[in-house]
C-alpha cells in the first residue's frame, strides 16, 4: 500500500476492512494523540496510553460511518478524543489532582542566578500555568497552540462559535503570559 494516502483515503480503506490501512493511520497519529491525552489528563501516562487505545478502537469501529458529516479526519479524531476527556472530567477531578501533585516550590526564577534559565523549571511553570487555566480556556489553548489546529476546526470540535474560541484564546494567552513573567 502507498504511504502517501491521505487520512480520509485511509479511513475509506479501513471501512472496507483493510487492516494495513489502519496500521498506517495508527502509526501516523498515535504518538500525537497520546501527547494530547497526556496534556489533557494531567500528565497521567498510563491513562494517556489507555485513552489512545480506546480512541483508536473507536476509530476502527466507527470507520464505516466516517464522513457522514463530511468533516476533516483531524476534526473527527479530535472531537472523539475531546469527548473521551470530557467524560473523564465528569468522573474525576483530574485537574485538581494535577495541581495538588505538581505544586511547585515558590522559588522565583531570579534566584537561579543571573542569565541562567533552567528549561525544565520553565516548562514546569508553563505546564502549571496552562493547567490552572479554566477548563474551557485550557482546551482551546491546547488545541490551538499545542495541537496547532485552526480556530475553525476547534470551533467545530468544541461546538461553539469561532468568536467564542478567539475570546477564550485571548484570555488564556493573557493569563499564561502573566504566569510566565518571572521567566522573561
Amino acid at each position: 500500500m502507498k504511504g502517501n494516502n491521505t487520512d480520509e483515503q485511509l479511513m475509506q480503506l479501513i471501512g472496507q476492512g483493510n487492516q494495513e490501512a489502519f496500521h498506517q493511520l495508527y502509526e501516523r497519529h498515535a504518538r500525537r494523540l497520546q501527547g494530547f491525552f497526556l496534556r489533557m489528563l494531567a500528565y497521567d501516562e498510563e491513562k494517556a496510553k489507555d485513552f489512545t487505545q480506546e480512541l483508536f478502537i473507536k476509530v476502527y469501529e466507527q470507520s464505516p460511518r466516517f464522513n457522514e458529516g463530511k468533516s476533516l479526519f483531524t476534526t473527527w479524531l479530535y472531537s472523539m478524543a475531546y469527548n473521551l476527556c470530557k467524560n473523564e472530567y465528569r468522573h474525576q477531578e483530574v485537574v485538581e489532582a494535577y495541581k495538588a501533585e505538581h505544586q511547585l516550590r515558590d522559588e522565583p526564577a531570579s534566584s537561579q542566578g543571573e542569565g541562567y534559565l533552567n528549561t525544565e523549571l520553565m516548562y514546569k511553570h508553563l505546564r502549571r500555568a496552562i493547567a490552572t487555566l479554566p477548563a474551557e480556556q485550557r482546551t482551546a489553548f491546547t488545541l490551538r497552540y499545542q495541537e496547532e489546529l485552526p480556530v475553525k476546526e476547534i470551533a467545530h470540535i468544541l461546538q461553539v462559535p469561532e468568536g467564542t474560541i478567539k475570546s477564550r484564546l485571548h484570555y488564556a494567552l493573557l493569563k499564561v503570559q502573566e504566569a510566565m513573567k518571572p521567566f522573561k
Binding site: 500525537r32 497520546q34 496534556r39 489512545t52 496552562i130 497552540y145 493573557l174 503570559q177
Partner: protein
Amino acid sequence: MTNDNELNKLEESADIRHLLKEVRTMSNEENAQCTPPPFDSLMERIREKEAPQTIPFPPKKRTGISPWWLVAACLTGLCIGIAMPRPWEEETYPMLSSHLHKDTIDTSLGESLTQEGFPLHLIVSM
C-alpha cells in the same frame, strides 16, 4: 467578546510569539517521549471486543435437581402421610371423629364441642 484584531495583535507581540514558541517546543518534546501501545495489542483488544458478538452464547448449565424429582418426592410424601395411622384423632376428639366418619353431621355435634370448650364462637365469627 474579543474581536479578531485583538487576538491577532496579541499573538503577534514579541513576548507572546516567544511564549508560543516555547509551548510548541515543549509539546513536541512531550510527543517525542510518548510511546503508544503496540499496534498488535490494539488489534488484540479489538478482537476481544468483537469476540462476544461472533461466539454464540454458551449453553445453559442444567440445574442439579430435575423438577420431576421434586414432583415424585411430593407424591411420595403425600402417600406416606395418607397411609400413616392417626391415633390422636380417636383419643383426643372421640366424639368429633365419630361424627366425622358419618356421612352427615347432626345437630348434637355443636353441643358436644361446646362441652369440650372448643372455640366455636371464633369459627362462627369468621
